[in-house]
Amino acid sequence: MNIVVLVKQVPDTYSERKLSSGDHTLDRDATDAVLDEIDERAVESALQLKEANDGSEVTVVAMGPDRATDAIRKALSMGADKAVHLSDEALHGSCAVQTTKALAKVIGTLGEVDLILAGNEASDGRIGAIPAMVADVLGLPSLTHARELTVDGSTVTVRRETDDGVTVLSTELPAVVSVNEKINEPRYPSFKGIMAAKKKPVTTLTLADAGIDASEVGLASALTTVTSSQPKPPKSGGEKVEDEGDGGAKIAQFLVGQKLI
């Protein structure tokens, strides 16, 4: 099977995340960057499928600035075979629709693909639907929020678990599948994996390489523009008391004072 995994480098959710005051895009320098945790799970799913299907290959696709190579290396050290990185200054500030179309173009350079895997939503995004959008651009079915994923011959079946319930979805390959955070526990890269990753091929594509016109991406032609952004002052702590057998009663008193009960 020819498997593609879409991965994103995101600001570490353990660090304080910021928007830059100039163009209100993500301030990538202010925070540590990591491979999005949900994408590690997508990579894990791809590797499990590869292990179950001899002759499979796992290709990681990322779009983002140069330092996204760290996220790519992480995926390679887990066991992915190779990577393609779309990196071009002109991509800065692209909106969701532009990003989707650019990713679809990159996938188009990879020849015949059987399965495209991705995390269900990025931890730094607001759209939460890029995998389904990529599928629509490619004319492929999307099976999203997978908690379980099985491929049997050319049929893929997913147990889609969301807050609203469980849906079992199936289709014929090729298809796009996004995974949710309950699907698996991603493996840690082994020392051997980390060493091997250094030698694995990473192809860097410019817009021109991927056949994308510079007018189709970037802040200037984005379909949405952030016009202002403002940090909200963080909430500060109030009173803290030690429980001396009356902790519950003290909370009740506080709530009465606030007219909450």
């Binding site: 939460g128 959008m133 079992v168 309950k182 949405t224 202002s228 952004s229 008391v241 606030q258």
Partner: protein, 315 residues
């Protein structure tokens, strides 16, 4: 006045509250037109509620297709084409986000996702768990918005509710097929995203059985029950109740955290709550940094006592 398309979220003949929020928000942009997509006969039970919340028109597309979400996307896309609406409003949910994204691709529209407010100028985003507020505008016609539940106060308004049947166009690409569907049924407690009071439990609750302490306090307050990811991952509580970065974003009047340390990813989902109460036996737990009132103590002692006090006051 320009039309604003509102996708109706409905289950078993009931309209979700988020749809009323959309109809209310839509009135700031134009005249709301409700769009109902569902199996034959679904629209009949919904029209009263839609009219009472200002729907001037109701487009009805009936289908028994098992194509996953494609009927919704195709119906909205054809209405965008034929009616040239001022905007399309869809509620934030897993399905809603996906329909919105696919629609934006099909109609080449600006996509303003997870907004907490809409205006003719654009949408307001609450970013990084409320740490930033950002305003965004659309640079195309018929922008597609997804609105976060609970961000708009529902207001009733009379709408003509003129019904019009629309075709479900044939899909252009392949779709996934729905084999089976088991919706989560609400139970007796309020929806997490709609509740004005939430009581959440973390790993400190210790087991699924002991979550009854969280539920007991919640029920005395008429509250929804939430959980941290550690509690969900440990199997104490089902995942649809997870609050945080990768769970629900909530902003109730009152949030009570029991045995939750207050990791940044949990805070991202609840730190915009009006009043926060924390009970934790570790005085250094970061949850206290954002708690308006904190008790350092054992939740199994404090929560039942609070429940008793609440019940006493009710009687």
């Amino acid at each position: 006045m320009a039309e604003v398309l509102v996708l109706v979220d409905h289950l078993d003949g009931e309209i979700k509250k988020s749809t009323f929020e959309l109809l209310t928000a839509a009135r700031a942009l134009g005249e709301p037109s409700a769009v109902v997509v569902g199996p034959a006969g679904s629209a009949g039970k919904l029209s009263e509620g839609l009219k009472a919340h200002g729907a001037a028109k109701i487009y009805i597309a009936e289908t028994d297709s098992s194509d996953f979400l494609t009927p919704q996307v195709s119906v909205l896309a054809s209405l965008v084409e034929s009616k040239d609406p001022a905007a399309v409003l869809i509620g934030v949910s897993a399905d809603g986000k996906e329909i919105a994204g696919r629609l934006a691709i099909k109609t080449n529209s600006a996509l303003l996702g997870d907004v907490v407010g809409v205006s003719p100028e654009g949408g307001t985003h609450s970013v990084f768990g409320g740490a930033f507020i950002a305003e965004a505008k659309a640079n195309t016609g018929h922008p597609v918005f997804t609105l976060r539940p609970g961000s708009v106060e529902v207001e009733q308004a009379d709408g003509a509710g003129a019904e019009e049947t629309v075709e479900v166009p044939a899909a252009s690409g392949r779709s996934a097929t729905v084999q089976s569907r088991e919706p989560v049924t609400g139970g007796d407690r309020p929806e997490l995203t709609e509740a004005s009071v939430i009581v959440s439990g973390g790993r400190g609750v210790g087991s699924a059985e002991q979550f009854s302490v969280v539920e007991g306090l919640a029920d005395s307050l008429g509250a929804a029950v939430g959980a941290s990811r550690a509690a969900v991952d440990s199997g104490f509580y089902p995942h649809q109740f997870q609050v945080g970065q990768t769970g629900k974003t909530v902003s109730p009047q009152l949030y009570i955290a029991l045995g939750i340390s207050g990791a940044i990813q949990h805070r991202a989902g609840m730190q915009t709550s009006k009043t926060i109460i924390a009970v934790n036996k570790d005085p250094e737990a970061p949850i206290f940094e954002i708690a308006d009132f904190g008790v350092v103590g054992d939740l199994f002692k404090v929560a039942p006592q609070l429940q008793e006090e609440v019940t006493k006051r009710k009687n």
